[in-house]
């Protein structure tokens, strides 16, 4: 059964240095507050796993938390490059970053295999792509038709962290809207941490694509309202598009990035401080002017 914890205790006790950590959320429900807490606690040597490492992983990579990145698309959605990610890959700054790279379909099949207790997944993928030369993919023959397909190894992160809209008091978790690969990422992991917008008496009923994760599939739950900013939590918050656009400028320069991390993440004890800092309009100007 899931335990209710503070975000700080959850990260401290369940995310050891060196762990493989998947933080999922496909544009929607990205667990930014949990990422910030990992930065505050200076976790090191993490293998970061995520289909779409966006700004959250740019921040984790830029602060030196990651040794390795497993991913399928690393960009700032609708904006452009992730400059901290690029700096790590192109220049080894702040430290070298190993990468293991798949396609979206491959990563999804890897999570599905992991959630299913299978050692590999099969898909029609990677055909003709140079990716096969650089990543962990094998070819496999259909025993019935002889057709050649791709096999990818199961993905079973040590820790999966997601953000959801709700948990009920028994620890069942509910999320809806675009649900991405979160169900599989949680079920594939040894340990699952969920931050939620709200703890409720009864989960809302939000239609066909509502994912429910029973309490006994989750390790720890922390209440973190607005914990997905600048991503969004459908029904609770809107995506902060201006933040994503602005991140291009912040992240392009190493010093500006360091000042931003200091001012918005490290100077605060937790997510409340980050949210308060966002409201202080002069703070960003100070960060940008150096």
């Amino acid at each position: 059964m899931a335990e209710f914890v503070s975000l700080r205790d959850g990260i401290e006790q369940l995310v050891p240095d060196g762990a493989s950590v998947a933080m999922e959320g496909f544009t929607h429900l990205i667990p930014f507050a949990a990422g910030h807490e990992i930065i505050r606690q200076e976790k090191r040597d993490l293998t970061l796993v995520r289909m779409t490492p966006d700004v959250i992983y740019d921040q984790l990579i830029g602060t030196g938390c990651a040794r390795r990145l497993v991913f399928s698309w690393g960009g700032n959605p609708g904006v452009g490059s992730l400059h901290r990610f690029r700096d790590a890959v192109e220049n080894g700054f702040p430290s070298a970053l190993e990468i293991e790279e798949h396609s979206h379909a491959g990563m999804a099949a890897r999570y599905v295999a992991g959630a299913s207790g299978l050692p590999f997944g099969v898909l029609r993928a990677y055909v003709g792509s140079d990716l096969v030369k650089y990543t962990d993919v094998a070819s496999i023959l259909c025993p019935f038709t002889g057709e050649e397909l791709a096999a990818v190894p199961a993905l079973n992160p040590d820790v999966t962290i997601i953000h959801a809209q709700q948990a009920d008091r028994r620890g069942n978790v509910g999320l809806w809207g675009i649900t991405g690969v979160q169900r599989e990422a949680v079920l594939a992991a040894t340990t699952a941490i969920v931050t939620v917008e709200e703890i409720v008496d009864e989960l809302s009923d939000h239609g066909p694509n509502h994912v429910i994760l029973p309490s006994w599939t989750v390790t720890a739950i922390a209440s973190v309202p607005r914990g997905s900013h600048p991503s969004y939590s459908m029904g609770y918050t809107k995506r902060d598009n201006a933040f994503y656009t602005g991140w291009d400028v912040i992240s392009r320069d190493r010093d500006t990035f360091a000042r931003w991390i200091d001012a918005f993440v490290l100077s605060h004890n937790g997510p409340e401080g980050y949210l308060a800092a966002l409201e202080d309009e002069s703070l960003l100007d100070v960060v940008l002017s150096g």
Binding site: P77, A105, G180
Partner: protein, 260 residues
């Protein structure tokens, strides 16, 4: 570019490109859409001549009818206005891989004469000059969609003799063709200057259409190989005032919604 004072016949190269791409979609087709120019084109088609085109975004939103253009592949707008939303594993397995997608839209950082696309890296993989975002859904769209429409602005940096990395296969590095791939591959490449199509036998991209007012020299200057020109080269019809009006309304609605 046509330079006429009537505002509905003055248009940008991106508008010409978007309108041309939209015209390639037919009513009832199932289209796998990416963010940016492809999403603009697909929604323009839906709001003009192809109201029943079925749009799928890789975030799992199926038959979505956004009122404004999404800024990210997973905007709430896409989920709110979709017939159904499925998980990401399902959108790739049950929908794309299963062959339910007629048309996939792709863009890239580089394309070569055989329609192979690079969105992974400039330079070598191990020591990249520029690290690009990577594959995303593109390799499987390239393989499994019934056909692929590529949208890419022309330049010596983008239209290269050989891509640095084949992220998504077109007709293979040597133009060997589509062996064992379920889909037909890139049937058309739409640029800001014209339209290229693969030759039926050699699979080399040939200039099939040129946008109004564009000089052939400009085409040659912005393609990194000695591009062949179709004997039946045509000039693209300029955007109609209806097309331009619909596209501009959509863009204006989008800008207004996002400024709130």
């Amino acid at each position: 570019m046509v330079d006429v004072r009537d505002p509905t016949t003055v248009y940008t190269a991106d508008e010409m490109m978007t309108v041309t791409a939209a015209r390639h979609l037919r009513n009832g087709q199932v289209c796998f859409v990416g963010i940016g120019l492809p999403s603009d084109a697909a929604n323009l088609a839906r709001l003009s001549h192809a109201p029943k085109v079925i749009l799928i975004y890789e975030s799992g939103t199926i038959d979505t009818r956004p009122e404004i253009l999404p800024l990210s592949i997973g905007d709430g707008e896409l989920a709110d206005r979709a017939d159904l939303v499925v998980s990401v594993p399902e959108v790739f397995a049950y929908w794309l891989q299963a062959g339910r997608v007629d048309v996939g839209f792709l863009t890239a950082a580089q394309i070569d004469r055989f329609g192979n696309l690079n969105s992974t890296v400039i330079g070598s993989y191990k020591e990249p000059k520029v690290r690009l975002p990577g594959a995303g859904g593109a390799p499987e769209i390239a393989a499994s969609a019934g056909e692929v429409i590529v949208m890419l602005r022309q330049s010596q940096r983008t239209f290269v003799p050989a891509v640095d990395f084949v992220t998504s296969v077109g007709f293979g590095r040597a133009g060997e063709g589509r062996v064992d791939y379920p889909g037909a591959g890139p049937t058309v490449v739409i640029t800001d200057l014209g339209v290229l199509k693969p030759h039926a036998d050699t699979h080399e991209l040939i200039l099939a259409a040129i946008h109004p007012g564009v000089e052939l020299d400009k085409i040659r200057e912005t393609i990194g190989w000695d591009v062949k020109v179709d004997d039946d080269l045509v000039t693209t019809d300029p955007p109609t005032s209806d097309e331009l009006g619909t596209l501009r309304d959509l863009k204006a609605r989008t800008a207004q919604a996002h400024s709130r």
